[in-house]
Structures are given as C-alpha cells and as structure tokens.
C-alpha cells in the first residue's frame, strides 16, 4: 500500500518533527524517549493528564495536547504501545506536584507498559492514577479475558478530564471523572477497507469488494462480523442498536456524540452517518446535546467510521464546553 513517507522506521519521528514545527506555540516535542508536552508544562498544582498509545491514530493523542486537554502524549511505533520510559519521562515533564492521571486504552500492551511506567513514577514519588478506557461494545466483556477495547471514549475522556484538571481539581477527583466518563460511554466501529502498517507493507486484512467488517478495532483487528455491504442507514442501525442497548441509553438521556472517521472516509459521508444517527436518537428520545464529527481516533488510511455515545450531565457538559486549545480541538480561545 502506498504511503507519503520516507522510510517506515522514520515515519514517527519525522511526523513528530512536522508537529513540532507547526505547533510550537502549543507543544514541545521530545525525542528519545518520544513524547509531546504542552509548551507551558509543568503547571504547578495542576494534575498532569498523560495519555499515549501506538501511532497511526492521529490526531489522537499528540494532536490533543494543549490547554484544557492533555499535558503529554506518548506516541509508540505504529499500532504498538509506547514504552514505560516514554511514559515515565512524560509524566515527570508534566508533574506540577499534583500528580498525574494516565489515561490508558484497554489493550494488553498499553496496560502493561503503563503499569510499568506507573511503578517507576511511584518509585520516584510521583502520584499516579491510571484509568483504563474500555468502551468498545463490539468485544464481549468478561473477567477472564482482556476485556473490551478502548476506543472513541478516550477522546471524550481526555477533553473532559483535561478541563477538570485545568480547574485544578485534585487527582482523585479527576480520576473519578475519568471513570465516570468511561462508565457512561460506549462505542463501536466498522470498516470498508483495511489499513496497512507501513513497516509491514501490506494490508492488515483482506476484505472483499462488497464486504464490510462490523465491530472493527482501531488497529484493523477483526470485528464482530464480516457481512455484505449495506446502506449507511442499515449500518448506523446495527451499530447504534449495539451501543444503545449496551449501557443502556434511554429515552430522556442527554448524550455527547462522536461520529469518527477511520482515516480514509470522506467528511461528506461522516455527516451523512451523523444524520442517520440523529434520526435514530430522535426516534428513541435520546437527546444529542453536543457532537464531534470528523477524524479523531483513526486507523491510518482505513475507510470506515465509529460511533461513540456518552451519557452526560450538567457537570460533564460544563467540562466539555470549557475552553480547549490543541492542534486538533479548539474552542473558547
């Protein structure tokens, strides 16, 4: 598969160099170990919000670093969890004495690496709480498995926790809010085409010209079911039913919605998907109070989308509306 890159092994650092050059007002980039921090870090007395994961999901996480959102992001190799030394260094760089929240997506690799990093940070006297995001309803949850994957809710949690931290709420409270967001959020994705990891050099999976994968993971992990391509209305029907019945979301609920592109799907289609979702929610009496539509948690050039619903309340909504200024998300400034 064709890419706009030089060498696969240089993709991550060269892309980081582009971010550094483009957003020097917002962020600083550190290499070896790789991490991105707010230009004004550390902020005394403020909980540092640190996240990270494999690269290839841009703008998440690096594009979400800035005022009101992440203090630091650790980019791993493409689709590979970053390493504990990155997370440790990033956590130290943003530590303003109030500790740090690690927002971790529930993948074995991410969880274990963040665990090791937290051990290292605690050993150095930095207070760390980790919240593991696991919102993907495509995966059957169980105590005896790796459990659900962390997907779209990560973006919403980072925004909301970032706002809480900006208000100087303490680590316990910010972590509680993060758990609350995770508990009230659900997502599901689907793919029309595969992505290709640059250093692998070929598509991660094969998919027929008339097929789609429902429940795809953001690394191209196979989903719930391979089926013939359907209309957007039918697809949104399947995905929203799985999401809504899971929490369950109920008539009268207010929700923040994200219709997210996987990277290769044009915006015109994402707005159509949002239109269909809006119709479904109207029909069920679920009130969409805020929405994000675009590419936020992607899977390289994969075509497809994901839908995220977060049941919200006044507190969460106020945090959502609070100012944010990052390369990818900006309002109120």
């Amino acid at each position: 598969m064709k890419k706009l890159i030089n060498k696969p092994e240089d993709l991550v650092p060269e892309s980081l160099a582009g971010m550094a050059a483009a957003h020097s007002d917002l962020i600083n980039v550190n290499y070896n170990p790789n991490y991105i921090v707010r230009a004004d870090a550390p902020i005394q007395g403020k909980v540092g919000i640190v996240s990270g994961g494999g690269s290839g999901h841009e703008p998440m996480h690096g594009g979400l670093v800035g005022m009101g959102m992440l203090d630091a992001a650790c980019p791993g190799e493409v689709f590979t969890s970053p390493t504990p030394d990155q997370m440790e260094a990033a956590t130290k760089a943003v530590n303003g004495g109030a500790g740090a929240l690690h927002i971790v997506k529930n993948y074995t690799g991410d969880v274990m690496n963040f665990e090791m990093a937290a051990e290292l940070c605690l050993a150095e006297g930095i207070d760390v709480e980790a919240v593991v995001i696991n919102d993907d309803v495509a995966v059957k949850d169980s105590l005896y498995t790796a459990g659900r994957r962390g997907v779209g809710i990560t973006v919403l949690a980072e925004k909301i926790c970032g706002a809480a931290a900006e208000q100087k709420q303490d680590l316990k409270k910010v972590a509680d809010i993060c758990r609350q967001v995770n508990a009230n959020g659900r997502s599901m994705g689907m793919a029309l085409t595969s992505c290709a990891v640059p250093s692998a050099g070929k598509p991660t999976f094969e998919i027929g010209a008339d097929e789609m994968e429902i429940g795809i993971g953001i690394h191209g992990e196979p989903g719930r079911e391979r089926m013939p391509l359907k209309t957007a209305r039918e697809i949104v029907g399947i995905m929203s039913a799985a999401i809504i019945s899971d929490l369950p979301f109920q008539s009268g609920d207010s929700v923040i919605v994200m219709v997210n592109g996987m990277g290769g799907t044009p915006l015109i289609e994402l707005y159509l998907v949002f239109h269909e979702l809006n119709e479904v929610c109207k029909g069920k009496g679920i009130k969409i109070v805020r929405q994000l539509i675009g590419n936020y948690i992607t899977s390289l050039e994969m075509a497809g989308c994901s839908i995220t619903l977060l049941k919200t309340n006044d507190e969460l909504l106020k945090l959502w509306d609070a100012p944010v200024h990052t390369p990818a998300l900006r309002w109120g400034v």
Binding site: G54, G76, E77, T80, S81, T83, P84, A200, G217, E221
Partner: protein, 208 residues
C-alpha cells in the same frame, strides 16, 4: 554448561532469527492481532544487539539486565513488557554468574516465566506465549530430574515449546489482542507462542 560467551551468542543469534522470521510472525499476528509482532521482535533484538555491542557486562546477570531494559525501552506492545520482564527476572536469577550449569539454566527460565505470568496474568490455554514457555519449563525440569545431560534438557524444552506452540492453534484466545476475536481466534497459531518457541530452538542451535 553454558559460558557467558555462549549465552551472549544466543542473544546475538536471536537477533538474526527474529529478523528472518519477521514476516512469518507478522503474518501470524495479522490473522489474530495487529500485524506487528514480527516488527516488534525484530526491532527489539536489533536494539539489544546494538546496545550489547557497546558494553562488556561483567557477568550474565548484568548482560541479561541490558537485554531486559532494551526490550522494555524499545519494543512496546504486549511483547515488550512480557519479554522485558522475562529477561529482567532471568537476570536476577543469574546475578553474578559467568557460567551456567544445567540447573542454573532451568532456574533462569523458571524465573523468567514467573515474571511473564505475573505481568500478563495469563493462564495455561489462554493462547499466549505462556503455552510455549510453560510446557518448556515442565519438560526441562523433568529432564533435569531424570539426570539428562545439558543438551538433552534444552532439546526437550524446545520440543515441548514447539508442541505447546502448535497446541495454541485450536485454542480460543482469552488474553491479549486475539481475545477480541472470540471464536474467530480458533484455528490460528499464536504469534507470541511462536516467538517463545524460537527463543528455545535458538538455544538448542547455539548451545547444542
């Protein structure tokens, strides 16, 4: 008996083995994971090789610690912390030693496996590297108890790892990325069990 030099040779040859098996491990991980296990192992051991070439560790424990820290620092994913912890615990078991007797080698693997179990919390038959490492340790302990010679012990460990690796094919994954697939994970060999088998097979090739 294995000297520090031979142990180092094992690590060095592992770099070649993972480079050669890069695509094979990628393909296995494509089927039930995210297609990077070959890339991760290749990157990790290439970095280990580079770091080792810059140092002359006084003993096997120190050498394995370098291996562990480099893996932890450069692999990421699930394999990084797991193999990192494996070598970290193995290094502790070999602290201060410059050569290993058969019993030392078995103790080294036992400590390593204990680390993997603690870090990953997988059980036997979860379709992970534990399904190669754990039978290998059982076989090596049995061989050691039987009074087998060094070469036989390692050979029997590798043979058990190979069998364990193949036994992952019909398993339903319960840990790691493959577990997201549920029933659809059945019928595929686990990539991590495969890289663990290669660890033992290479030991036979280099030490045997």
């Amino acid at each position: 008996m294995v000297s520090q030099k031979k142990l180092r040779a094992w690590i060095e040859v592992l770099q070649k083995v993972y480079a050669e098996n890069r695509q094979y491990l990628i393909d296995l991980d494509s089927a039930i994971g995210d297609a990077d296990h070959g890339i991760n192992m290749d990157r990790g051991f290439t970095n280990v090789q580079a770091d080792l070439s810059k140092t002359d560790p006084p003993d096997i424990g120190a050498m394995l610690k370098t291996v562990a820290m480099t893996l932890i620092r450069t692999v990421g994913g699930a394999a990084g912390p797991l193999y990192g912890t494996f070598f970290l615990r193995a290094s502790t078991a070999c602290a201060g030693k410059t050569e290993l007797q058969a019993a030392d080698v078995v103790a080294m693997f036992e400590a390593g496996l204990a680390g993997v179990l603690q870090r990953g919390k997988a059980e036997l038959n979860d379709k992970t590297m534990v399904d190669a490492l754990s039978p290998a340790l059982v076989a090596m302990k049995r061989a050691l108890g039987n009074g087998s010679d060094f070469r036989q012990i390692i050979q029997q460990g590798a043979a058990a790892a190979e069998e364990g690796m193949k036994n992952t094919i019909p398993m339903l994954a319960k840990k790691g990325r493959a577990s997201y697939l549920g029933e659809r994970s059945i019928g595929h060999q686990d990539p991590g069990a495969t890289s663990s088998y290669l660890l033992l097979k290479t030991a036979v090739d280099v030490w045997g």
